[in-house]
């Protein structure tokens, strides 16, 4: 058994400080044979789960069988992580800076994005890796103006597969310290209202580079939602409120970090800065006006201290701005501790 945990203190300037045991995650692995293996990942979010309450979540984020056939071709089936972006498949607390995950990896790429399905993965040549899955689609009736496609994840819970989605990722890893990748997702997400034609696509590119004490990472993600105008009308008929879902969402971030103390554990610390730009109302369907408060930028400055390579003590200061002249977004001081074992 392995796992990771993270606990956060978020102190915004417009409200009370919140202390949250954000994630408690256990990973299980079993080897049936050298070529047939199981991995499971069970997560409790926000420490407490109560039925029908907007409190914590108990999530089965991974539970798959890997059939390892060759280096170039392997088969995976079960609950898998959607292979999109830097964070979704690589989110143990010591591997990213900042107390919270990037905003782009929350409202544009809805991490942690997991779904039931099956697919293939492997590596060809020296450092060219791929994976491709067929998965349950998103549920477009849950899309929103603020968080885009996030609430549309079916999470493998009796997922409707009237339509299937496909997702894939290609990574180039041949240069030491450098990882360049591109990924995508495509699926008809209007199974709940079949007369709609809500085809959704996600296109994403990212890179990480580490050289000496410096580390840089960048990610761009773009989401398209087909038939968004009629989708808004359909949701309004159900809820009475138009969700103002956009036809396109877009976000990117760049981050630089410098290892200011690199004498090995426990003399190991880094400073970082990250700029994010994310707009969940980037393009609107005809007849809909974008809500400017959801066209946002953020700066995050902070430090990560590693008393052990598997333990990260984090502090950051986060400022957010929106294009709205009326709504001010909070600034917050965040402190966190996360560990892997």
């Amino acid at each position: 058994m392995s796992g990771y945990m993270e606990m956060h203190l978020n102190s915004p300037d417009d409200g009370p400080a919140i202390l949250d045991f954000h994630r408690f995650v256990l990973l299980f692995a079993h080897r049936f044979t050298d070529r047939i293996r199981f991995v499971g990942e069970l997560e409790v979010e926000h420490a407490f789960v109560e039925g029908l309450e907007e409190a914590g979540e108990l999530e089965l984020e991974q539970a798959y069988l890997d059939f390892l056939i060759s280096r170039a071709f392997n088969v995976r089936a079960g609950m898998v992580l959607v292979p999109i972006g830097i964070i979704n498949e690589r989110h143990e607390p010591p591997v990213f800076h900042g107390v919270e995950r990037p905003f782009v990896d929350t409202v544009i790429v809805p991490t942690t994005w997991f779904e039931v399905g099956a697919g293939i993965h492997g590596e060809v040549g020296t450092g060219l890796r791929y994976r491709g899955y067929v998965l349950a689609p998103l549920n477009a009736l849950e899309f929103s103006a603020e968080e885009g496609i996030r609430e549309g994840r079916q999470k493998g819970a009796e997922a409707n597969v009237r339509n299937a989605a496909v997702s894939g990722r290609v990574e180039y890893l041949s240069v030491p310290g450098l990882q360049i990748a591109a990924s995508g997702w495509y699926g008809d997400s209007s199974f709940a209202v079949p007369r709609l034609d809500t085809k959704v696509w996600v296109a994403e590119a990212d890179a990480r580079y580490r050289l000496g004490r410096a580390e840089m990472r960048a990610q761009y993600a773009h989401v398209g939602i087909g038939d968004a105008g009629r989708l808004n009308e359909a949701i309004e008929r159900t809820t009475g409120v138009s969700p103002n879902v956009a036809s396109q969402l877009r976000g990117f971030y760049v981050e630089g970090a410098w290892q200011v103390w690199n004498q090995g554990p426990a003399r190991d610390a880094a400073l970082f800065a990250r700029y994010e730009n994310f707009d969940t109302q980037f393009r609107m369907p005809a007849g809909f006006v974008p809500l400017e408060e959801f066209d946002r930028t953020a700066w995050i400055f902070g430090a990560t201290y590693y008393p052990d390579p598997d333990v990260a003590i984090k502090i950051d200061y986060t400022t957010q701005k929106s294009q709205s002249g009326f709504i001010r977004l909070p600034r917050s001081l965040n402190v966190g501790i996360g560990w892997w074992f």
Binding site: Y4, E61, V95, E123, P176
Partner: protein, 123 residues
């Protein structure tokens, strides 16, 4: 089976601390491999039949495993800043030897794989 008939493993040395004792032999080619969630770099190591290589394994983050299929090479790569693991490998016949991380290291653990390719001299 080719993989099974190739006699490959020479020795496994773990130098968790600087100065780990090691018998001096003919100096094999040194290859540095970095392990990081969730990849080895490089993930493919090539050598000629009869060539001996010394693989120095370091981690950029947590502890990883390094197990080479059909050999007795199975070591733990220490966490970042806590030293390295060193293994020696000699290919006595052509073949491909898959290696992997066999210590759970995170959500993408099963992607940490690679191979040692032993080729005929001059290839």
């Amino acid at each position: 089976m080719l993989l099974r008939t190739a006699a490959v493993t020479v020795s496994v040395l773990t130098a968790l601390a600087a100065g780990g004792a090691r018998a001096e032999q003919d100096s094999p080619r040194k290859i540095n491999v970095e392990a990081e969630r969730f990849s080895f770099s490089p993930s493919r190591i090539k050598l000629a039949v009869g060539e001996e290589v010394e693989i120095h394994l370091r981690s950029a983050d947590t502890a990883h495993g390094f197990k080479v299929e059909n050999t007795d090479i199975d070591v733990e790569i220490p966490k970042r800043g806590k030293g390295e693991a060193v293994v020696r490998f000699t290919g006595t016949s052509e073949g491909r030897f898959k290696f992997e991380c066999n210590r759970m290291c995170g959500a993408g653990h099963h992607f940490m794989r690679g191979e040692i390719v032993v080729e005929a001299k001059g290839k």
